[in-house]
Symmetry: C2
Subunit: 353 residues, 2 copies
DNA sequence: CACGGCTCAGCAAACGTTTGTCATGCGACC
DNA sequence: GGTCGCATGACAAACGTTTGCTGAGCCGTG
């Protein structure tokens, strides 16, 4: 049985602009290497002005476009930065990508994205893949405790910056926010509003941000004489449903409820809030609530959520600048951005004394 | 003046795993081409089983990692998909990237990201750059009216999918949502709740979603006998501050206010809401408000925002699947996802009659 | 007038793969 | 027993750049 149209492949007439450096060279009557130099601002000094102009004219006329893959093979640089996130579904990461993109695009670099889903094996696979792609650098915003070795191994091959999530016990360059201090200012804020019994809804302890927030909070709480109700559970992931789970557990186990709750991030706070509401409890009249991250829009919640601002765009931008610096052969300082409390309506004064 | 340490460059001992196909070949005592075939599942049939096993053992022992840049140069494929967004600051895009990544990573493909900032010249530059990088396909979620020609020109060179924002008058494969119908269901909902005088807070008309929403709304409003208060302005960009501007203008120009407002997206709705509040007007008691997109968290606003759900994750995923299909040489059907109204608390019944 | 140095451009060797073609050796079939 | 075909693997030519080296002219200087 014969195929109807065996050679129907002649479907794409001029697919892939085939014009190459070679073509330009021939048309301009020079050698390819001369074209290469003429087109590279850094080397165009090695070419006579008249020749350069002629070459550029030809290049434009022919619609020449550099072949970055070929260039990458020869030069070893791909103008590509890997960005590894934990969860691309989290609105927290867009601003990081935004900042990163802005910081690196000046050099013609662009980010290439992957997502670990907080799975160590996936992280390993992704790093391997990124190394195969010969990215110029890697930004990891998905570090967890068990990931240190694999990350440091990769960092020995290609420049790496740890962002957003600290990597405990590692000397890799990083740009993070001061979570310990973030925890502290929350505790002090609650104390200053007269709260005495407080509780934390903790994020997963293998993501270093959360133990740090926890420690900062507990230390300051102790100093301020607060009593901290302990909950024998932490969130498996920093997401809404886990916030709901923790909040239910708290309601079952603590009677009376503490007067203030510190949720380790806004999503957990949101989950807690929904459970609180469905039980007919009022925020902030019956219980105060503090989140973390200041996600877009939590200022418009009812009540507007008091939270710690996390400047994720700045984190992405700083990470990008650090990459650029690293690539220049410099040794940039790690960055630790300050935490900042955003006071809104979800914390009330406690009349408990 | 002599440089202190001229040859301090010996700083990176084993930077870049230098082990190449060549190395594996020598160690295994075969020709590089044999290694290449042995490692490629599609061609490993051309290699004796025993040889294949030996080669793989050597490759593992040496820690061989394929050099995707070299492969890309030879094969013409880079396993890379360009994703072009308008504004990476918008939480709307993360889910799109999420869906896209999930759909293409099966084939080892990864997205490379850029942002137009709704600037035609930037779009042009980005497309050029992506073509230089020899991406295998491009997903554009940033189309505006004036972009049609440049997009179609690029689409002649590399497979392209238009996502999220329709491109009026173009036959390029696309995956969008039915904005016209979205506008319709909003109007019908308002009518069914007894509203008679309504108004639109329009998004920029060069982004095709908005005229479509507008048309769908107006047609259905006409059919339902609603009178539409017209506002002689539209948002320059679909962002909060523009929503505020439009709302102020509406308050100045319309007396009395219509009983219901259709904001063309949630951000505009949010801006409107903040102005409404600062004037002491109540939503939904004095005026009802509908948004569009169902951004994460608008369900937790006060009042919870009635809005049209935009399944941006699904859009990203469908776009990714379409890319995969296109790359297989197929001709996938364009996708138009249905709009769905999410009724919440920001729309009340009107007792206006 | 010769020679040193500078400017300009060509030559060719990489960079690490993939892939079409060719060579060898073997068993099988007629 | 000769030829055919198949399995296996080597060879070499790409893919489109960049870059160190070489060399031809030219100018100025001694």
């Amino acid at each position: 049985m014969a195929t109807v149209f065996p050679e129907v492949v002649v479907d794409t007439p001029e697919r892939r602009s085939a014009v190459t450096l070679q073509d330009v060279a021939i048309e301009a009557g020079v050698h390819p290497s001369t074209v290469s130099r003429a087109l590279d601002p850094a080397n165009s000094g090695r070419v006579r002005e008249a020749t350069r102009v002629r070459i550029m004219e030809v290049a434009n006329r022919l619609g020449y476009r550099p072949h970055m893959v070929a260039r990458g093979l020869q030069s070893g640089r791909t103008a590509t930065v890997a960005f590894v996130a934990a969860d691309l579904g989290n609105t927290f990461v867009t601003p990081i990508i935004h900042g990163l993109t802005g910081a690196i695009e000046g050099g013609g670099m662009m980010p290439i994205i992957a997502e670990t889903e907080d799975d160590h094996n996936r992280l390993t696979w992704i790093l391997d893949h990124m190394l195969s792609r010969r990215v110029d650098a890697i930004v990891v915003a998905a570090a967890r405790d068990g990931d240190r070795e694999i990350l440091e191994a990769s960092a020995r091959i290609v420049p790496m910056v740890i962002a957003a999530r600290p990597l405990e016990g590692s000397a890799l360059p990083h740009v993070i926010q001061d979570d310990h201090d973030g925890g502290r200012i929350v505790a002090e804020h609650l104390a200053s509003r007269g709260h005495r019994r407080v509780v934390q809804l903790k994020g997963p302890s293998d993501v270093a941000n959360f133990p740090r927030r926890s420690a900062g909070f507990s230390e300051a709480a102790g100093l301020a004489g607060l009593t901290e109700v302990s909950l024998d559970a932490e969130a498996d992931h920093p997401i809404v449903s886990e916030g709901q789970r923790l909040m239910r557990r708290l309601i079952e186990s603590a009677d009376p409820l503490p007067t203030a709750i510190f949720a380790h991030n806004d999503l957990i706070a949101l989950g807690a809030l929904s459970v609180i509401r469905e039980r007919g409890i009022s925020v902030p009249d019956d219980v105060s609530l503090v989140g973390y991250n200041d996600l877009p829009m939590v200022g418009h919640l009812s009540p507007a959520l008091t939270t710690v601002r996390y400047r994720s765009r700045d984190v992405g931008e700083a990470a990008g600048e650090m990459i650029v610096s690293l690539l220049r052969g410099e040794s940039p300082e790690s960055v630790c951005l300050p935490a900042e409390l955003i006071e809104r309506a979800s914390v009330a004064s406690s009349e408990s004394e």
